[in-house]
């Protein structure tokens, strides 16, 4: 079981590394997105400070969305997913593995690159820390929820779409608390713990329910 988990994770990572440029690409993609805002908004230090949290989290959302269809679609089209349903292990292991890989490909790079955001947006050190922390806590939830949405929209039965529309708004709490935490540290040096608690709780919750929902959706999509 643990072995299957590892196999699938490493497989998905390998898929990503197959284009050796890809991991770097993720990083540079963030830099590009981040650099766009000042071009559009202007480079007044105050403004930059204010928008930094939003920018970071929009980048996170975009990243996990951009890579979401890769999550199951490819395996669905070429029939690998059928095979995964037939594995002797429970399906939720597969789901967790794929989510984990997805996070390693999207969430983690963002966490790692976020100091650059802080630099470009003139954030102080402890603000940089809080940005990294909030991203670290929140992005797994994005991947997990995204997985549910991806599984639901997979077969594209009418119901799936409607449900996935119910799913997408679930992103919002993560965004609010994540951005909120950074803002708290940027603007009013308000206590941030509360934000982190909520963010963490949200992630844990999604991790608890996500795999079950996602694998149910997968079975539905495949019959």
């Amino acid at each position: 079981m643990w072995r299957l988990f590892k196999t699938i994770v490493s497989r998905d990572l390998l898929l990503a590394f197959r284009r050796r440029a890809e991991i770097l690409m993720t990083l540079f993609f963030f830099v590009v997105v981040i650099s766009l805002f000042p071009l559009g908004i202007g480079t007044d230090k105050q403004i930059l400070l204010r928008i930094a949290p939003g920018v970071a989290w929009v980048a996170a959302l975009l990243a996990s969305m951009l890579l979401l269809e890769r999550l199951f679609a490819a395996d669905y089209l070429d029939g690998t997913l059928e095979q995964m349903l037939l594995t002797p292990q429970p399906l939720s292991v597969v789901v967790m593995a794929k989510v984990c890989a997805h996070w390693l490909l999207t969430g983690l790079p963002l966490v790692l690159i976020s100091p650059l955001v802080a630099l470009q947006y003139r954030l102080g050190d402890e603000q940089m820390i809080s940005m990294m922390l909030s991203l670290l806590l929140g992005t797994p939830a994005l991947s997990m929820i995204g997985a549910i949405g991806a599984a639901l929209t997979l077969g594209l039965r009418g119901g799936g779409i409607l449900l996935s529309l119910l799913i997408l708004p679930l992103y919002i709490p993560a965004l609010i608390y994540g951005a909120g935490a950074i803002t708290a540290s940027v603007v009013a040096n308000a206590p941030e713990q509360a934000y982190y608690m909520l963010l963490g709780a949200f992630t844990v919750l999604s991790m608890a329910l996500g795999p079950w929902a996602a694998s149910a959706a997968l079975r539905l999509a495949l019959e």
Binding site: M25, P38, L39, T43, L119
Partner: protein
Amino acid sequence: MVPWFAVPAILLTIGGLYWGFFQTPNVLSDQKQYYRIIFVHVPAAWMSMWLYVVIAGWSLVGLVFNTRLSFMMAASTAPTGAIFTFLALWTGAFWGKTSWGTWWDWDPRMTSELILLFLYIGYMALHSAIDDVRRADRASAVLAMVGLFAVPIIYYSVNCPDPNQCTALHQRSSMEYMESNILWSMLTMTLAFWLYGFAVILKRVRSIILEREKYTEWVNELPEIRSQQG
């Protein structure tokens, strides 16, 4: 042929750096010694822009006359260009840190160079993402052509975001009232970078050719290949 460029490149770099760092009077005392970075910074910046034009040129030749060599030249030029771009940004950032007290400022020139870096990276990423050589060459050539049209527009837009009073263009170009021997040492560095560029590009294109032609017989005639096989 490579050494013909490599050796003078090294010599000139050393010479230029020495000249720049120790032979130039301490003008711009407000910036203390930091300003000497300019001897790396500015030439690097120049090279970075020039090399992109070179790439586009080779790509055009390749697309029109369908010559494989020019594609190889373009492909092998890109990394050097990216390196110079990064060098310009990095030295610039360093300079900014010391003289302006900030790593980064959204000054147009810096921004446009940053964008140029993105273009380079995009070019290289595309080329490395396609494993069918033929398609890789032509696809990235098309990209370079598009870039050739885009770059001037982008530069214009960045340098003069407000078309009504367009003053930002060519700001802070203090070339004119620059000490002549500072200028000269800078030019030396530029020349040095030129030669370095030639050397590296030729080296790279050579290896690329060898890799792609490894099935033709003339390659196997080459001494070092023989020695490897024998």
